[in-house]
Symmetry: C2
DNA sequence: CATCCATTTCAGAAATTTCTGAAACTTCAG
DNA sequence: CTGAAGTTTCAGAAATTTCTGAAATGGATG
């Protein structure tokens, strides 16, 4: 590795966190290198920086592409692929959320809807009810997400900064579609 | 397994999703069984339901406890430990978010703050800047989360249901002016 | 205390995931 | 075409994670 102390620390941290984030160590490290890099890097530069095999880096970059977390770039008179991460941090966050939703939530929502279709036997009454409740909750959250994700970053930021003031606002406004609350 | 078709489908799905959710197959399956169960279950009942070893179930339950995803119960004249998941689905969501934040975000926030302390060499100027930007963004989000998490579920639900109307609200939001008539 | 019953621990086995080098493939230039 | 430069694929090796049975632990009871 020929990375500065700062970069190395950051890269190793991302490597360690990788597995908790649903990627692996190598993918986390590659992302970290790209995230900090002043300019786009090609595969061999990443190999150099991380001391991992070319094939591993290649697979890692594919994985990052499948997450839409890196952008492909080209330089004149150079046929190598160069990679960067977006400048805009909020774009990164949006991507991360969208991709994790796709992988961690959407399949379950599909499954829950499927399970909810079948009429439950008497023994399954309670289970069926719980499934329905979970499905409704996930739908409420993903619908909200879809709507928030439509907003421009500017607007989103304004909401973020309003923080607890939103709670006050919600005070008067609870009338629309109350979701089922427990304890009838 | 002596689970109904419905339960079995649900359990297998949670097992498959487990690894994407940062737990393993067994833990996912145990959680699924408890989530659907009409009443608290003891370890041996789960062993019975899933056909896994007693020790594996024991470790899985420990893991679920470390996530605060299950509650311990006892029955009169029975010294076994029984487990349930909370009735209230929103409590579950809150726990899930809190625990994932704790595992996936807090350590990184700490690390970023630490890295940001050191004065960067000239070469690291851009890297240092990116780290600062990421730290600021994570702080903005976690502060927002902390504030939202203070709200009662009722209030949270009201916000969820307002959906895109919040975007409109963010529009004019220098002041708080509780209710301006929409669309002049 | 000894016993019973339940839970936990833990070392090794089994399963899964990650990583590598070698070969295959692709594209472009001459 | 042929070769050079780059990327991808993939089978097996290496590393890591999960799972198990056996033994250890805990704690209530008589």
């Amino acid at each position: 590795m020929h990375l500065s102390q700062l970069r190395q620390d950051f890269v190793l941290h991302f490597g360690e966190m990788g597995s908790r984030w649903g990627i692996n160590r190598t993918v986390g490290q590659i992302y970290a290198v790209l995230f900090l890099s002043d300019e786009p890097l090609c595969a061999d530069e990443i190999v150099e920086a991380l001391g991992l095999s070319r094939s591993n880096i290649s697979m890692g970059l594919k994985e990052l592409q499948s997450w839409n977390l890196v952008r492909l770039r080209h330089k004149p008179d150079d046929r190598r692929d160069y990679f960067t991460t977006p400048e805009d941090m909020w774009e990164i966050v949006r991507t991360l959320i969208a991709e994790r939703k796709k992988r961690e939530i959407d399949p379950t929502l599909t499954k829950l809807r499927e399970l909810e279709m079948a009429k439950p036997s008497a023994d399954d009454a309670h289970a069926h009810e719980r499934i329905a409740e979970l499905r409704a909750l996930i739908e409420a959250m993903t619908n909200f997400y879809d709507e928030m994700n439509q907003l421009e970053t500017e607007r989103l930021l304004a909401l973020l900064n309003m923080g607890s003031k939103l709670g006050k606002f919600a005070q008067g406004a609870g009338k629309i579609l109350p979701l089922r609350r427990k304890k009838g």
